[in-house]
Amino acid sequence: VQAQPGLSPELKDALEKFINSHKVVLFMKGTKQFPQCGFSNTCVQILNTLNAPYETVNILEDERLRSGMKEFSQWPTFPQVYIDGEFYGGCDIMIEAYTNGELVETLEAAVNS
């Protein structure tokens, strides 16, 4: 239904730079102040609970970003979480990792690295 403009080299570079210059990046629907989807909200709540420093990017603002991120991460849905420059997962993975304690370890390692 929607066009897939694809991931331009410029956008890919910009994404790599952005992801690598922040410890935790959450690509989400809406903003951390106003999440516009329950799954994105869940990730915001988890990161807030763990007191993690994180940046959010609202993928609803730009269709190129939205389709580009799917390709960049090889992941079809949002939210998408990057920790320490690496793709960490979507909402289900965040919940699982939060529940079993892996997430707090990964975040601590990232923040202290």
Partner: protein, 112 residues
């Protein structure tokens, strides 16, 4: 309501016995499509698909038991599921992966 009743009776004819949940036919991914794709492409021994869309057919909860998950981390398991559903994902707005276990893990969880 008449349209709804027609759709339901059509579903009974088309899918009798092949799925458990309610679903609506409108040329998009159905719970039955998702279940079939996961069973075939992941050689899953057990697949549970719940339509959580409230009828629009674009939101699913899935649980998958497959040997394909053996030796793979959670992220890789989710990637396997996403890839298996690549075609269906174009029409799916939300997919929650509740479980992606190996048969071993399922046995342990059931305490047998």
């Amino acid at each position: 309501m008449a349209l709804r009743a027609t759709t339901l009776s059509l579903q009974k004819v088309l899918f009798s016995g092949s799925f458990a949940g309610p679903l609506v036919i409108r040329g998009m991914a159905t719970a039955a499509d998702v279940e079939k794709a996961l069973k075939e492409r992941l050689k899953a021994s057990e697949v549970t698909v719940i339509d959580t869309s409230g009828g629009c057919g674009a939101s699913f909860d899935v649980a998958v038991i497959s040997e394909a998950f053996e030796g793979k981390r959670l992220l890789e398991r989710h990637r396997l599921i996403n890839n298996a559903l690549a075609e269906e994902m174009k029409q799916i707005h939300a997919l929650s992966i509740r479980q992606c276990w190996t048969p071993e893990q399922q046995k342990k969880a059931q305490g047998t």
